[in-house]
């Protein structure tokens, strides 16, 4: 087995060690999903005007958020990596025959995949059998579902590349608090985690369009609901790839610079 796969395995083993955390996660996801949908139901019932997204689409959007929360939420950071830098265990990291950017990237993917896999299925089992209007709708077409899967996975790659920049920033700031808070607030909002992007005012949608964040949440989820059509979805996956290449290249370059000036904290 090669190193990234075996890191993934190690992650799963660690995740399984904490069963209560996974169970609590599932309940939290269901709870927040229900609350959000209640708010939207009230909003859609008492607001007669036509909205850019139907209630059904919004319900799917909310449940997808909750199911794949661990995959795409930006502010889920791996404390272990921060501690490697600020606590000085980076020394061991650099004694291994691997390049740091790819392996940390793999670690981030492993962390997200393992934590999502423990939550996604149980949440899915529940939300597909809830009573209307809370029930999770099926994808509009097999094509939409296939494209959604692709878009979600490249969204995962993209969110990991964005968060890598936050980890690398810690080499300079020595504390994750600032960079995490900034990116969490801005990124979460413009990704469409709080309000779906189509429900935002026009000028805000323009800003969201210029940033990479909406390609991680808003885009894949609206592909699922069919709000974004097949042709548009294919083009979107192309744009995701361009963002991914740009962010990974920037990260790799910054990481090289950071390692040249690395200081092992704590002797």
């Amino acid at each position: 087995m090669n190193a990234p796969l075996s890191l993934l395995k190690m992650r799963f083993l660690t995740g399984l060690q904490y069963r209560a955390a996974a169970a609590a996660g599932i309940l939290t996801q269901l709870f927040f999903g229900l609350i959000f949908i209640m708010v939207y139901v009230a909003f859609y019932t008492h607001n007669g005007a036509a909205q850019p997204m139907s209630l059904k689409e919004v319900v799917a959007y909310v449940w997808l958020q909750q199911m794949f929360f661990a995959l795409i939420v930006l502010w889920q950071f791996d404390v272990e990596l921060f501690e490697l830098i600020t606590g000085g265990n980076i020394a061991y990291e650099l004694c291994r025959p691997w390049r740091l950017y790819p392996i940390w990237y793999a670690k981030l993917l492993a962390a997200r995949l393992s934590s999502a896999s423990l939550r996604c299925l149980p949440v899915a089992l529940v939300v597909f059998i809830l009573p209307e209007p809370y029930r999770m709708p099926l994808p509009t077409s097999p094509a939409a579902f296939l494209l959604f899967t692709l878009a979600l996975l490249s969204g995962l790659l993209l969110v990991a590349a964005i968060s890598m920049l936050v980890y690398i920033s810690v080499f300079w700031t020595m504390s994750p608090v600032g960079s995490v808070l900034m990116i969490a607030v801005a990124g979460e909002f413009f990704a469409g985690m709080i309000v779906p992007v189509p429900l935002m005012p026009g000028w805000m949608q323009t800003i969201a369009g210029l940033l990479p964040f909406r390609w991680t949440v808003d885009f894949p989820f609206r592909v699922y609901t069919g709000h974004i059509g097949v042709r548009e979805a294919l083009a979107g996956i192309g744009i995701q790839m361009i963002w991914l290449a740009a962010l990974a290249a920037a990260g790799e370059w910054l990481m090289g610079r950071a390692l040249r000036r690395v200081v092992v904290q704590g002797g």
Binding site: N2, A3, L7, Q17, G88, A91, C95, W98
Partner: protein, 327 residues
């Protein structure tokens, strides 16, 4: 042929500084004052294959910095370093396959899972062929008596057990050089001796070159044929322990037990440290006083029951060396 060559290695760190107090803290918000700390200055030495080298010096002298430069973790500001033909910080990824590292104050094992899972992860990271992994694991398990603890999560191990696992983890991939940064820190006597014996054995039987830093002079006495001493970032001494002994260790103590009541004896050049009717302790310089002669003269005070001649502990020699160089 030398395996490790360091020439003129220098490294300095920028350290942010501020005095205590609220006003100072507010000021530091806008203007940061930095001082440059020179951690290493012009360090040069060579190590041959199969040597065990003890690297000593007071806290903050630059031992760990040197080790980290040799492991490819830190990039020095000046100088050159060639280890097995590699420059550690330039060829890091290819180079680190050939070395094993233990930082005594850190852990390379995954905290939450059993030790054996960490070992298997290391096997995958280093792409160790299954046959070699099996063989090394069996050997290390036996030599470090790990059989009972391999399946225990790391967080439940005692420090001594964990250190044995750390050392095993650093040797799974057959490294040619082993860097040990304070491998015996915090260990009890039994674990210390186990670790020392193990280091000696792998050096002798597998020809692993060992560089270790320590504050425990017994480690040095038991292991290192050669010591490098560093203080305030410069190399102060490079030579064997016995050389150091003959240079500074000529001061000896002699303890004499008398059978019956005896009277104190005055010998010129010999200082009496304590005297009671049954026992006397003297200290003298073995370069100037002949030991046979001294014993003869002491026996004039009464019938001797026991005589014990001791060298000062290595700790004191080192302290003397530190003092001489004002570090």
């Amino acid at each position: 042929m030398s395996l490790i060559t360091l020439t003129g290695i220098g490294k300095s760190f920028k350290v942010a500084k501020r005095s205590a107090g609220f006003a100072e803290a507010v000021k530091a918000l806008f203007v940061r004052e930095h001082t440059i700390v020179e951690a290493l200055r012009d360090i040069s030495f060579t190590v041959r294959e199969g040597e065990i080298v003890g690297y000593i010096g007071p806290n903050g002298a630059g031992k760990s910095t040197t080790i980290k430069i040799m492991c490819g973790v830190l990039v020095p500001d000046a100088g050159a370093c060639s280890i097995m033909g590699f420059t550690p910080w330039k060829d890091r990824v290819r180079y680190v396959r050939h070395i094993g590292v233990v930082f005594g104050q850190r852990s390379q094992l995954w905290w939450d899972v059993p030790v054996i899972d960490s070992f298997e992860l290391l096997r995958d990271i280093y792409a160790i062929p299954p046959g070699i992994y099996r063989k090394n694991l069996d050997m290390l398990t036996e030599m470090l008596s790990l059989a009972d603890i391999l399946c225990t999560p790391v967080r439940q191990l005692s420090l001594g057990q964990r250190m044995r696992c750390e050392i095993a983890a650093s040797l799974l991939h057959d490294p040619a050089i082993l860097f040990l940064d304070e491998p015996t820190i915090g260990l009890d006597a039994e674990s210390k001796i186990a670790v020392r014996n193990f280091i000696r054995t792998i050096n002798r039987e597998r020809g692993v070159t060992v560089i270790l830093t320590t504050h425990d002079m017994h480690d040095i006495e038991a292991l290192a044929g050669r010591i490098l001493m560093i203080g305030k970032g410069t190399l102060l001494y490079d030579g064997s322990l016995s050389e150091l002994r003959s240079r500074y260790g000529t001061q000896k103590t002699i303890t004499v037990d008398y059978k019956a009541g005896a009277s104190p004896i005055d010998v010129p050049g010999v200082q009496c440290l304590s005297w009671s009717s049954g026992r006397a302790v003297y200290t003298f310089d073995s370069d100037r006083i002949d030991i046979t002669d001294l014993i003869n003269r002491l026996s004039a005070g009464g019938e001797l029951a026991d005589v014990e001649i001791g060298s000062p502990p290595v700790d004191e020699l080192i302290l003397q060396l530190y003092k001489e160089h004002r570090v």
